[in-house]
Amino acid sequence: MGDLSNIFLNSVFVGNILLAYFLGMCSFVAVSKNIDTAIGLGFAVIFVLTITTPVNWLIYHFLLAPGALSWAGFPDMDLSYLKLVMFIVVIATMVQVIEMMIDRFSAALYSSLGVFLPLIAVNCAILGTSLFMVERNHTFLESTVFGFGSGVGWMLAIVLMAAIRMKLRYADVPKGLEGYGITMIVTGLMAMAFMLFSGITL
């Protein structure tokens, strides 16, 4: 249990997928203007990550990893170079499914997320989490927790950012730094704050 909660804490705070590894910046900057859309996209990312990371784990460990195909009689097969393609296909499919679901059940959310839903497919955070999961040799359960934790961390960052940006509207930001520039600098300050969590274990 301790291991799992540590992985969770680590992926939410210290190794925050956005603030420490810079993944998922594009949609982060584009969507963090409004807190409601940020929450919507955050949930979408948590959802996609929690599903795709374990699915990709299964695919990697039963089809792609060196020697993974021994159950099918090919112990020498190494298809790990295919992992990029496989992962991205799984992710794209999942995103398509989720897009259809949101379109069916919540028209308001669908119209507010607009073009960003297809962009989740190319959100680096999703693919990055799957790749990190392979690089760090997580087990199945760990990878599920890691995916969920990364999603929570990403959502936390984007919702906080949206809240800060709403306040920033009333701030007197130097011309030229408005919008994108100040967003990056504030993100930097937030990343600094998140670094303080390092060393916390349960």
């Binding site: 590894y21 810079f22 990029l84 991205i88 794209a92 959100n123 600098i185 670094m195």
Partner: protein, 205 residues
């Protein structure tokens, strides 16, 4: 002829400065920050990126009249993923150390918004040669920001450029210290923010 020339020129030079993918359009920042601790990794990353974006634009543009609209994203992803695997395997075969340092970030070129964005926004509606040039321009624009950030971070963070000590020993003797902060994640965000400010100031926007 003249118009074609102008278009080609615009496709090449526009993305480097006025429509820079990172600093103006805010695309592809993800990988831009993580690989900029050193100039060497930044350069390798820029070259891989230029290769992928140029050829993916070329291929997507060549296929644009045959691919049905509703599956175009999957097709684009397949093209991009193939190119990224080529780049990744090439690096792993010939530059193993750098490939290790870049870790997952070469693979993440697949999901870099620049590649996808150019395929969607430009290659789908332009002939192959223009799309190719546009890809090279965007790769160069991406690379220029990467190099600028990496230059600042490596110089002030570890006193080196391309791994060679630049700050003279006498500086250290008189009390100068490397800014460890530059090597951490937050510094990258702040430098990008300041670069954007500088560019907007220079372009008078």
């Amino acid at each position: 002829m003249r118009i074609i020339k102008r278009k080609t020129y615009r496709a090449l030079v526009g993305p480097v400065w006025g429509e820079n993918p990172i600093s103006i359009q805010m695309l592809g920042i993800c990988s831009a920050l993580a690989v900029t601790v050193q100039l060497k990794t930044a350069i390798v990353m820029s070259i891989s990126m230029t290769f992928v974006v140029a050829f993916s634009s070329l291929i997507v543009s060549m296929m644009r009249n045959w691919v049905p609209r509703n599956i175009r994203i999957l097709v684009e992803l397949a093209v991009i993923a193939t190119l990224v695997i080529l780049a990744d395997e090439f690096l792993r075969a010939f530059y193993y150390d750098i490939s290790k340092q870049l870790s997952v970030f070469v693979g993440l070129i697949i999901t870099n918004c620049i590649v996808m964005g150019r395929a969607e926004a430009f290659a789908l509606s332009n002939p192959p040669h223009l799309a190719f040039i546009d890809g090279i321009g965007n790769g160069a624009g991406y690379g220029s920001v990467l190099l600028a950030v990496a230059f600042i971070r490596e110089l002030f963070g570890s006193g080196k450029l391309f791994g060679v000590k630049i700050i003279p020993e006498s500086f250290y003797a008189s009390g100068y210290e490397d800014m460890g902060f530059m090597l951490l994640a937050p510094a990258a965000f702040i430098i990008i923010g300041l670069l954007v400010w500088l560019q907007r100031y220079l372009t008078g926007d």
